[in-house]
């Protein structure tokens, strides 16, 4: 099945960072409840159109894989469309389409997510189908083996054909010395080739069950309706013993690292810098909120420090961006991405960027910058409410990473109270050379 491997796509990571959690105060937090079998349920009401977005979020992703089996979480995501006793291989999506609905799934390091968008009166049907494959997946080599070829083609398309994707895969591997965030979600090619039906069945058996999942329904529905449907469908699935989530910690970061990818296929060079950064779950106090504000001031938009210095004043960069997603379960990354202008050497661009960073860490944010960043982040929370799918994702990513519904709901209010000292302190703790990997994509011509 199609999957968006969220952490492989920098653009997506950036938009999630800005959207990271939201609601304007007027609408109230989503309703939540729990079924007897442990399934958590979140209902986000949006009655503007007679449609619903239904998502099941499993608390398992690529960072939970055992060494040597990279890609199995994502492979199983594909195989979940291969049928049960009731539904023939490949029919799941066809049935949804025949109801005028759309469906897909995606895998990240922390979660595996299946979703459908349907007219509100078809919600019960897709909930029944999703509950069915939560417990009754049936796999044969006849369907598993061609699908393994499909994920290998997916890897070639997303990564191996694409020099900048290869660079980010390499920089992640260098940044995480011990934690599995350094292993690509889609898997290493040589390990993907060896994945088997038995691997997939073992993975499914160990991790899939109502007590390891969150159901999120957004759209033209009420909590009472959803509860009734959930009891009838997911409520019939027994809880399974699930291993506790455990990942190895990073050792102390003591050495800055550099990764240079020389790729003769490329004609445009790139500069990236990734720093190990805490998430909303792992950060002390309000540091993650301060990092979100800091990322906005440093590289968010055309009034940011990096844009003004590198694009406008020094004329060295064609585009700049920063990314910080605090929605990872464990410590993750604060990223800076720069595209040099024609003829600009990466070393010159890097030196100029380092000066911008050093100046920011030294002098801190101005009141005007702080105000503008907070206002933009708060506005993004209002714009997010226009899209029920975005809202469902904000709560899904937040909950899986260990935030509470209340924390996610109050995100804009907390952002509003972040002060300049907090931003300086959080940025100084994170933007240290020894916590970083510098990535360079070098076309052969350079």
């Amino acid at each position: 099945m199609a999957s968006s491997l969220i952490r492989l796509l920098s653009g997506v990571a950036l938009s999630l960072a800005t959207a990271s959690a939201c609601f304007a105060a007027s609408s109230g937090p989503p309703a939540t409840f729990k079924l007897a079998n442990g399934l958590e349920v979140v209902v986000i009401e949006d009655h503007r159109a007679p449609v619903a977005t239904h998502m099941i979020w499993y608390r398992v992703g690529a960072a939970d894989e055992t060494r040597g089996h990279s890609g199995i979480a994502h492979f199983l995501e594909h195989l979940m469309f291969k049928g049960t006793d009731k539904i023939a291989p490949g029919d799941f999506s066809k049935i949804v389409a025949r109801q005028g609905g759309q469906d897909n799934a995606f895998t990240t390091h922390d979660e595996t997510v299946y979703w459908q968008r349907v007219a509100r009166d078809r919600l019960g049907l897709v909930m029944g189908m999703e509950a069915d494959r939560m417990a009754h997946l049936k796999l044969t080599d006849k369907v598993v083996l061609p699908e393994r070829d499909v994920i290998l083609e997916e890897r070639r398309m997303r990564i191996d054909n694409n020099p900048s994707s290869l660079l980010s895969e390499q920089t992640a591997a260098a940044l995480f010395l011990n934690h599995p965030y350094g292993i690509p979600v889609i898997g290493w090619f040589h390990e993907m080739q060896k994945l088997t039906r038995a691997d997939a069945e073992a993975w499914y058996g160990a991790h899939y069950g109502p007590n390891n999942a969150i159901l999120i329904v957004a759209g033209d529905v009420t909590p009472a309706e959803v509860k009734e449907l959930a009891e009838k469908t997911y409520g019939q699935v027994a809880a399974r013993a699930v291993p506790p989530r455990w990942r190895p910690d990073e050792p102390p970061a003591i050495a800055s690292r550099r990764v240079t990818l020389v790729d003769p296929r490329a004609t445009q060079s790139y500069f990236t810098r990734d720093y190990l950064a805490p998430s909303y779950r792992t950060a002390k106090g309000r540091a993650a909120y301060a990092l979100a504000v800091g990322a906005e001031i440093l590289g968010g938009g055309a009034t940011s420090r990096l844009y003004r210095a590198l694009v406008e004043d020094k004329k060295l960069a064609a585009e700049v961006s920063t990314s910080y997603s605090g929605d990872d379960y464990d410590d993750s990354t604060f990223g800076i991405n720069l595209t040099p202008r024609s003829g600009v050497k990466l070393a010159v661009l890097e030196a100029a960027a380092d000066k911008v960073i050093a100046d920011f860490l030294k002098s801190g944010a101005t009141e005007e910058e702080l105000k503008r960043a907070i206002s933009r982040l708060r506005a993004s929370a209002v714009f997010a409410r226009d899209n029920q799918n975005t809202m469902a994702q904000i709560y899904g990513f937040g909950l899986i990473s260990g935030e509470t519904v209340d924390e996610i709901y109050k995100w804009p209010d907390v952002i509003a109270t972040v002060n300049a000292d907090e931003v300086s302190s959080a940025m100084r703790n994170v933007l240290k050379p020894e916590r970083s990997v510098t990535g360079l994509l070098v076309p052969k011509a350079e």
């Binding site: 099945m1 199609a2 653009g11 304007a24 503007r48 159109a49 007679p50 449609v51 469309f81 999506s93 066809k94 389409a97 025949r98 109801q99 005028g100 609905g101 007219a119 083996l145 061609p146 699908e147 393994r148 070829d149 499909v150 994920i151 290998l152 083609e153 997916e154 070639r156 398309m157 191996d160 054909n161 694409n162 900048s164 003769p264 296929r265 490329a266 004609t267 445009q268 055309a302 009034t303 003004r308 694009v311 406008e312 004329k315 064609a318 585009e319 961006s321 595209t339 202008r341 024609s342 503008r372 206002s375 933009r376 506005a379 993004s380 209002v382 714009f383 226009d386 899209n387 029920q388």
Partner: protein
């Protein structure tokens, strides 16, 4: 402007807008000066989205000055009136106003979104950009280089390169086949005067369509329209006619990738063609229906040759249209995947579709209709496409009836007429093996 986003947007195949239910039917608002806009009033969020489209887009580029219209889209938010580039962007960002200008092959689009509390400023800033753009020298130098960077990013991305190259191969000598970002030679020549000229020919009221969705009423919108658009020229030069597709061809662009990225296409029909909806339904069954299409079944599900394979119906705003598709497969199986694709074209043309296939296509296409209208931003862009296709606001109630009216005989007739596998223009990027030359 994010160049990567620009590159992606530029190559997205136009998806046909599917109409909504009566609840979201727009009303036509007319300004005192006679400018019309479609309005969907909705006060659920304290925000507004405005989408403006001008038919023509990059086809307005003058020969030798390719890329001018794209450059214009990059320069319109680089300063206006009393504000230089930095001040203008600060005005927008302080208020969280999003103002995007973008150029596509046959349209020029403006998208404005704002919170209600900043609505007045958002409209004022858009008005300034359209009436008093500065096109300052420093910003122009910067934007021209960003255009060069965008062109390299296209070259480095197999899908973008295959798409750009396919249009060039399919429509040589026509404006539709030109590079959206120009060439190094044409970019070097572009001047401030070219921007002014591009604006005069590409942003004219005779080809302008406006859709507004959200927290604004008819009176406020009507009052704003004249200030925004009245100074644009009433009439532009004649639009170019629809392009004729080149003879069947196979073009291989060598790239040392492990996977071959293919784009293929043949002539389709215009949106105004009475057979359009039959072609649209046919396409769903052939390759438009995601996991419910014949190509997906044959090439991905049964054989695991690709991650995705799809086809799309692409009617041009300037008239005419094509049917295009794409897939990516390891170099070793490129020939096999293309053979399978041709075989599905041949089979559908020769044997037609089944009644259950037609029924499934109709239930999806009519049933998924409401999913296109569940956010303000989507409503605005969908209705803009309708407006640019010459439909009335009431078409939203007619569209599903048009889908239902398509018969098995209609689909089989258009399949026989259009789906000639020997007519395909094919472009492959990579090191494809086993590919047979064009017939």
């Amino acid at each position: 402007m994010n160049l990567r986003a620009l590159a992606i947007a530029a190559f997205a195949i136009l998806v046909l807008a599917l109409p909504a239910d009566a609840a979201t039917k727009p009303v036509v608002v007319k300004s005192p000066g006679g400018i019309e806009a479609w309005l969907v009033e909705d006060h659920g969020l304290p925000a507004m989205a405005m989408s403006v489209g001008f038919t023509g887009g990059a086809t307005r580029d003058v020969k030798g000055k390719e890329g001018a219209v794209t450059l214009l889209s990059m320069m319109l938010d680089e300063g206006a009136g009393q504000y230089d580039s930095r001040a203008f962007k600060q005005q927008l960002e302080e208020r969280s106003i999003s103002l995007d200008f973008s150029a596509a092959r046959d349209s020029f689009d403006i998208n404005l979104t704002t919170l209600t509390e900043n609505q007045g400023d958002a409209l004022r800033l858009l008005g300034l950009a359209l009436t008093k753009p500065r096109f300052d020298a420093a910003a122009l130098v910067r934007a021209k280089d960003q255009l060069r960077v965008a062109q390299r990013q296209v070259n480095d991305d197999a899908e973008s390169l295959a798409s750009e190259s396919w249009y060039a191969a399919a429509f040589p000598g026509h404006a539709y086949g030109r590079r959206l970002y120009g060439t190094p030679e044409s970019i070097a020549k572009l001047s401030r005067g070219d921007l002014t000229a591009a604006m005069k020919s590409a942003l004219t009221r005779d080809v302008m369509h406006i859709v507004v969705v959200g927290d604004i009423d008819a009176k406020a919108l009507g009052a704003a329209l004249d200030a925004l658009f009245a100074t644009l020229p009433a009439k532009g030069p004649a639009l170019v006619g629809p392009p004729e597709m080149a003879p069947p061809a196979l073009k291989i662009i060598a790239k040392d990738n492990p996977q071959t990225t293919a784009m293929f296409g043949l002539p389709g029909v215009a949106r105004a063609d009475p057979d359009f909806m039959a072609v649209y339904v046919m396409n769903y069954i052939l390759g438009g229906g995601s996991f419910s299409s014949r190509l997906m079944d044959e090439v991905r599900e049964k054989r695991g040759l690709v991650y995705g394979i799809s086809t799309g119906v692409d009617p041009f705003f300037i008239g005419g249209g094509d049917i295009t598709g794409s897939f990516a497969t390891k170099n070793e199986t490129a020939g096999q995947a293309l053979d399978l694709t041709r075989a599905e074209f041949r089979k559908l043309a020769a044997k037609g579709i089944t009644a259950p296939e037609l029924a499934d296509a109709k239930t999806y296409l009519t049933g998924s209709f409401a999913l296109r209208f569940d956010t303000n931003g989507k409503i605005a862009s969908q209705f803009l496409v309708f407006a640019m296709q010459g439909k009335s606001p009431g078409y939203v109630d007619q569209r599903n009836k048009d889908v239902e009216a398509v018969t098995l005989a209609d689909v089989n007739r258009v399949a026989k007429r259009l789906l000639d596998p020997d007519r395909l223009v094919v472009v492959m990027v990579g090191k494809p093996e086993g590919v047979k030359p064009a017939p």
